[in-house]
């Protein structure tokens, strides 16, 4: 017998021996590729799962924690019905680096299916992006940054799902390995959730595959995501990337909504799951094993795009736009009718359809047949069970000693401000996000860019609101993975608080380098610890997440530690939302937060070409009352505007609150900021006060409401009156005045070159 060909397989020799021991024989070709996918880092979380247990995942509002295709958190009630927000968060990093348009588009496509299959209506997407240095118009990094955004835009717009949040950073350390993270939200009545497993008494049920005809695209995608990118393999890597079809997805979503309505009307419980990594095999094995069943599938029944596909390609290839149902055979004809006749799937895309491919069994075997022959027959729990890699990491190093203070630049404030505003991580994001439809579905309350978090009213006829923000600063991640992860949680939570919402759930995507290198694995372990610390402090659990490792180029250059976090906020009444732009002249401006000396990872140091290894610390005991104050003030209608302080610091936040008022038809509103030395009481220098990135908010309070606001703020530490708004397009700091229109032009220009 010929030796098994293991080329193109990421399994290690010790893992191959483990498989042989479990089977009692050498695996077949199909089995080899099946285990390659299921035991890949991408599917198995083998080096992260035991650390992820440290994350808090339970809470009063958690309806469904991590474990299925999406998490679900309680939003509120309307007409006696409880509504949940469904959320999922993933990466599509390697595909987006190799084929950015398709890679990023299929990222959106995949995350949308994760939310859809919970029985939810998909209401929003978000896209945290990390691109390389885009200064050179002819660089691959510039091409990736443009094409990935075009892919997200083309896909999200076509399916009719608004893009409500996101962020982007540019850093040469992402030149060879961009990050394209994607988040999707759905809305579901909590009584109508569909789970990602075959429910009880499902023995003998039909397994229905629905969607695009299976083709050879995306074969080996899971293990491709679990290897480092090698430029020499570019062509074979391209074959591992899937092909998006948002047109088909648009119809598939609407057909699925029709199936949901049918199931509701008939009070039926079934299983529904997205096909992602591992294709038909991965999805059918997981939906059945999670219910305690086995599965028997005939690959010959699968609708294919061309003849002659090998069984391992049909079984494991990652063709997009497919899902699997497990349903009682009695309703199969109606499901097939809805997809194939009412929504005419076969006329939407070549050979797209819903088709029965097998049965749920109760013998715990996972069996695949192809042309009458058994090509796979394994214990389903061995295939989908948890495997674990114990890898070495180092104990956390204490932070570095303080450096020079107070900080002296020798650069004038106006020049410094201009350079900070034109920095790639600060400049206006509008040229990018205006490519995205932010308002389709008609539920948008705050579109992207008008505040720190996007806000939707997802339940027609109800004032309930959902807020969403993402965060994860790579300038921080490069310095300290643990503290950067805490800052990611703090910033995501802070952004949601800034619009007046209550943070109710978090998701994370952990984007790191090769876990078999001690320094990168240490970063991953540290980051998880940081996420847990912050999530516990904010009493906001993680309900969904994803891990993406091996983010480095073949030359071993790894990305900055990138724990990217999203935060969902709940609003009982969207009347209370707070936006970012100044509303009137003569208001009082406050800084809510704590000025700190540490400038490590700040934009101001970057523009000066300086470095400091000290990140701002997070004082949770001080922050929690500040957030409670923000929420109370928002509810009481005392906040005319609010903006979280992030990249570029307080002075950038003030500018960004003024810029929207400079548009035609508005009355220009600027600001007079008092001498920082006075309002910080000499605690920090002016550079630290104005450009520090320790967090907090700038808020605008009407002069008439000052008494009421200060009454609420009475016992809260870290509330500083810093100035007033003025009826002119001017930013004045102490006795220096800057032309806001000029500053706005400098701020708007940089990304227009990349996204004209």
């Amino acid at each position: 017998m010929a030796k098994l060909d293991t080329s193109g397989v990421a399994l290690r020799p010790d893992e191959l021996r483990k498989i042989e021991a479990a089977l009692g024989r050498e695996p077949s070709v199909v089995e080899l590729h099946a285990f390659d996918a299921q035991w890949s880092e991408h599917c198995s979380y083998k080096s992260s799962r035991h650390h992820l247990k440290a994350l808090p995942t339970k809470g009063h509002d958690v309806v469904l924690g991590p474990g299925e295709d999406s998490g679900i958190v309680h939003l509120g009630e309307h007409n006696g019905e409880r509504y949940g927000i469904v959320i999922a968060h993933e990466s599509h990093n390697h595909p987006s680096q190799v084929v950015p348009f398709e890679g990023a588009a299929t990222g959106i496509g995949g995350i949308v299916r994760d939310v859809l299959c919970m029985g939810a209506e998909v209401i929003a997407v978000a896209d945290p992006l990390r691109f390389g240095n885009v200064d050179d118009p002819h660089s691959h990094a510039r091409y990736v940054a443009q094409a990935a955004v075009d892919g997200i835009s083309a896909y999200g717009n076509a399916i009719g799902v608004p893009n409500m949040a996101g962020d982007v950073y540019f850093d040469e350390r992402f030149d060879d390995n961009c990050l394209v993270n994607v988040v999707a939200l759905g809305i579901v009545k909590e009584s109508e959730i569909i789970h990602s497993y075959a429910p009880k008494d499902a023995d003998g049920w039909d397994i229905i595959l629905v969607g695009k005809a299976t083709d050879p695209s995306g074969f080996g995608g899971a293990s491709f995501s679990s290897l480092t990118l090698d430029a020499a393999d570019e062509d074979s890597n391209k074959g591992a990337v899937q092909v998006p079809d948002p047109f088909l997805k648009n119809v598939l979503m609407r057909a699925s909504y029709a199936v949901f309505a049918y199931l509701r009307a008939n009070n039926l419980t079934v299983g529904y799951k997205d096909l992602g990594a591992g294709g038909i095999m991965g999805c059918s094995a997981e939906i059945c094993s999670a219910g305690g069943y086995g599965a028997s599938i005939d690959l010959t029944k699968v609708n294919v795009a061309l003849d002659g596909l090998k069984p391992e390609v049909i079984a494991i290839g990652e063709t997009q736009e497919r899902l699997i149902w497990t349903v009682p055979a009695s309703i199969t004809p109606e499901i097939l009718r809805i997809y194939n006749e009412e929504f005419t799937l076969p006329q939407i895309a070549y050979n797209a359809r819903a088709v029965v491919i097998g049965k749920v069994t109760n013998d715990k075997r996972y069996v695949l047949r192809h042309r009458g022959k058994i090509v796979m027959d394994v214990d389903i729990d061995v295939l989908t069970g948890s495997i674990r890699d114990e890898l070495p990491f180092e104990a956390h190093q204490p932070g570095p000693a303080p450096t020079e203070y107070p900080f002296v630049t020798g650069v004038q404030l106006d020049e410094l401000l201009e350079r900070v505003l034109a920095h790639g991580d600060v400049a206006s994001r509008e040229p990018l996000y205006r490519r995205y439809d932010a308002v389709v579905r008609g539920a948008t309350v705050i579109p992207r860019g008008a505040a720190d978090a996007g806000v939707l009213a997802p339940v027609p006829g109800s004032p309930l609101g959902v807020a969403l923000a993402v965060a994860g600063n790579p300038r921080f991640g490069h310095i300290d993975a643990r503290l950067a992860a805490q800052h990611a949680v703090y910033e995501a939570v802070r952004s949601v608080v800034a619009v007046g919402a209550k943070p109710v759930a978090l998701t994370d995507c952990l984007n790191f380098g090769n876990p078999r290198k001690v320094e990168h694995y240490t970063e991953l372990v540290d980051a998880i610890d940081g996420l847990a610390t912050a999530a516990n402090a904010f009493e906001t659990p993680f309900v969904s997440g994803n891990v993406s490792l091996y983010n480095e180029a073949s030359n071993g250059k790894a990305i900055p530690a990138s724990a990217i976090v999203s935060c969902v906020g709940a609003l009982q009444d969207v009347s209370h939302v707070v936006t970012m732009s100044f509303k009137a002249a003569g208001s009082v401006l406050y800084f809510v937060g704590r000025p700190q000396e540490a400038l490590g990872g700040s934009v101001v140091l970057d523009v000066l070409g300086r470095h400091e290894a000290r990140l701002p610390l997070i004082d949770y005991a001080a922050i929690l009352p500040q957030h409670a104050l923000m929420q109370a003030a928002a509810r009481a209608g005392l906040l005319r505007s609010a903006h979280d302080i992030g990249s570029g610091g307080l002075i950038v936040a003030v500018c960004e609150m003024a810029f929207p008022t400079l548009t035609r038809g508005h009355k220009a509103i600027g600001a007079q900021i008092d001498d920082p030395w006075q309002w910080t009481h000499g605690r920090v220098g002016n550079i630290e006060a104005l450009f520090g990135e320790a967090g907090g908010f700038v808020i605008e309070v009407s002069a008439n409401d000052v008494e009421a606001f200060e009454g609420l703020a009475d016992d809260v530490e870290g509330v500083y009156e810093i100035g007033v708004t003025i009826g002119e397009p001017v930013l004045a700091v102490e006795d220096e005045a800057f032309d806001l229109r000029r500053l706005r032009d400098l701020w708007e220009r940089p990304l227009r070159e990349v996204y004209p």
Binding site: A154, I159, N250, V439, D573, S575, G665
Partner: protein, 256 residues
């Protein structure tokens, strides 16, 4: 009496949900009619073609949908004087079907909403559109005030009106320019046009005044909670802003 409005769904339509909701909130008896149910279309009194990417916008936005059998019924209805209202992709379909400006033959378009200029990308932007005809010139706008300024979202990659010189003159002289892009203060100039559209056109009406095609989406600023300038104490769930055009349409349908 209330007459029945069909919201026509092609494969690829994506704005049907909010369109039917706002029509209902404005008093319309609106129903979704799916492409596999196209034979029922003659039973309806008026048609709304919502936004999206019908047939993936292949060839040119709206070009394939204009030849769908659904459009046989819409064209018959329009010819018989029924009201037809197309928004964004629906507007593109109406131009490709030759119903607006209606200066040529059916399905032989004389003008198109095509690729934005100078930047040929999809752009999502809050805009104002201004009624550029006497309200009664178009039955759908008949209850709007003269020069009505309506908030909307311009969300498209192909919304630039393009036609040859002769047809553009015909469009202008024939009073087909129903809406133009405008600034917040109501002034109209090239700076208010987000897509390079000829004559600053945001919407067109046919000669008979029963078919209106508008590129920006009034329904995306159709409830108070959508408005950036909402105030505390407003009824946030009430139809407002862009809803005025929907109300005017529903009134016209129910009077017909």
């Amino acid at each position: 009496m209330k007459r029945r409005i069909a919201v026509v769904i092609f494969p690829g339509t994506n704005s049907e949900g909010e369109t039917v909701r706002l029509l209902r909130d404005c008093g319309g008896d609106a129903h979704l009619v799916h492409w596999s149910r196209s034979v029922t279309l003659p039973e309806y009194d008026a048609y709304v073609l919502p936004g999206g990417f019908a047939y993936e916008d292949r060839i040119r936005a709206g070009a394939i949908a204009a030849h769908d059998s659904m459009m046989d019924h819409v064209i018959d209805g329009a010819t018989a004087g029924k009201l037809v209202f197309g928004i964004c992709n629906g507007a593109q379909v109406l131009l490709e079907a030759g119903l607006v400006p209606g200066t040529g033959e059916v399905r032989r378009p004389t003008a198109a909403f095509t690729r934005n200029a100078p930047v040929p990308h999809f752009v999502n932007a809050f805009v104002w559109v201004k009624l550029a005809i006497a309200p009664s010139r178009c039955r759908i706008t008949a209850s709007l005030p003269e020069g009505a300024l309506i908030p909307a979202w311009s969300s498209h990659g192909e919304g630039r009106l393009a036609a040859d010189e002769a047809h553009l003159r015909e469009i202008e002289a024939g009073g087909h320019v129903a809406f133009q892009f405008a600034h917040a203060d109501g002034s109209v100039d090239a700076g208010a046009v987000p897509n390079g559209s000829a004559l600053g056109v945001a919407g067109l009406v046919n000669r008979e005044g029963n078919v209106l095609a508008i590129m920006p989406h009034p329904e995306r600023d159709g409830w108070t909670f959508n408005h950036p300038d909402r105030r505390r104490g407003d009824d946030i769930l009430a139809p407002s802003g862009g809803a005025v055009l929907f109300k005017s349409f529903v009134e016209a349908v129910n009077q017909a």
